[in-house]
Subunit: 334 residues, 2 copies
Amino acid sequence: MPNPVLVETFRGEVVENRHRGAIAVCDPRGAPVRAWGDVEALVYPRSAVKTLQALPLIESGAADHYALSSAELALACSSHNAEPEHTQTVHDWLIRIGLDEEALECGAHPPLDDRTAAAMIENHQLPGRVHNNCSGKHAGMLTTARHLGEQTRGYIERDHPVQQRWFDVLGDLAEVDMRRLPWSYDGCGIPVIAMPLRAMATAFARVAVPDDLVAQRGSAIERITTAIGEHPFMVAGSHRLCTEVMKLTGRRVLVKTGADGVYTAALREQGLGVALKMDDGSKVASEVALLEVLNKQVALHADELAVLADRRRMPVTNTRNVVTGHRQPALLWD
Amino acid sequence: MPNPVLVETFRGEVVENRHRGAIAVCDPRGAPVRAWGDVEALVYPRSAVKTLQALPLIESGAADHYALSSAELALACSSHNAEPEHTQTVHDWLIRIGLDEEALECGAHPPLDDRTAAAMIENHQLPGRVHNNCSGKHAGMLTTARHLGEQTRGYIERDHPVQQRWFDVLGDLAEVDMRRLPWSYDGCGIPVIAMPLRAMATAFARVAVPDDLVAQRGSAIERITTAIGEHPFMVAGSHRLCTEVMKLTGRRVLVKTGADGVYTAALREQGLGVALKMDDGSKVASEVALLEVLNKQVALHADELAVLADRRRMPVTNTRNVVTGHRQPALLWD
């Protein structure tokens, strides 16, 4: 059975586009509290698990050794806009660990932030690896490798201990066997491993309730989520939903986007984890669906919902700035 | 029942994204020769019917009166890239009919062509209405209004004779009552009318076999499709599928994209019309699905298919230029 329609875009009175997908809402024991669609099908989490990929940075002692700031820890979990504050921080951080941008093995792409991308064109600057939205994650991986005396060259390879460490963290929190699941390469070149949405949501339920984990894991989660709550700009940037939600909620509602229509959330007040994937990979639809889940799970307060109203029921305008319709949630609730 | 999956994107061995949609292939009597999904559901054709919207330009005598070139006629049917050749032609054309860019009532947006858009940023130029991908269509509408002595201001309004004329043409060819169907505003500000895919495909089957139409309509279609076949660049531009297909086939296979995942085609050798719409509005998926239909209907020859191979089974690469998977057709055939 196909996944249900989660988001619809109206033009006038007619639905022009329909976005299907699946959502899992789980508690820390892994039980689905709510589910739409097939939450057992394999899905690539993409960047939506960066917070968990950053845990070895703390658990290995690397963050302490290099006295990483909480802004840097937040950046290690980011899909950033490559605004000057993001790239400057990555640049300085790499120098502090005795490396430079050449050590980054992610590819280059123009900044996600349109204004920054336009400014680079105006200044005849070409995008470098530091502008890759994943450069903070890569800086974190390099930091751990340096601290543990591992070769930094080739740190993106599946067999490198840097990658193996986050396989262990995510496999542990999601209760999956990371080495038996199908894998491929992510946009930035590191491995990406397909897993059920239910497992992803379970991992984030455990992020939401870290007290029940072994002490070291729990305190690493506390430290990294505190950093994210303190620096929501570092996790994404201007006009980005992740940043806007955490600006409003701090770390009470931790959300993270992943490419091709993925979102995860850790709801600390409710003690729940959320994972969602749009079948068609639509990013904008994933945002609408996420906000509707946060709304219905009462994770957002009324004043927060009001600020985000245009993100949940999103006006669609044409080139004349006429509102031609809306993109809005279509999830059915019991 | 949901529409079938027409296109899948693999990452490694796992399907990461699925794109559903509907396709109608009709003969000129309106009989569906082949159909996927619900071809009776209402769909906005968007820019995929521009060729038909341009017919009043010829039938009214305006094209002859102003001695429009075949490049201008092709541009009247275009969703162009706003490359210099497109915008210069619209600019000169408007002056020749005693107007200028101020008369265009479409909104401004950056050129669809990335290189042209970047050059504008480098030169500190702001996009104007002439850069709207629909500015050729608007120039055509203004030309007809001028020729018939109608007020040009407000030509985009639903009640203006310029709009009413193409309602009549499309209503006639598609055999629908354009004034009773739901409508809204298109991206460029003119009305857009929702209709069944089957009706759209029927209209394009009649474009494919214009001999059976009344003489004036048939010869107008011959003239406009000849112009398109002669100037495929004017209809879209660099790296655009419409241009690439018609560069290879002339007007033997006339294809036209529309926003939000729409495509139409007139297959002159087969005497068939095609209309397709991706449920999720994905443009890239609509291109893959279109090429697969053209392939299976044997509308493209082997050497043409070879040139377009990477468009039909499209490699997906990451920022390191590693191929992580493919976007490929998933249509089932009897």
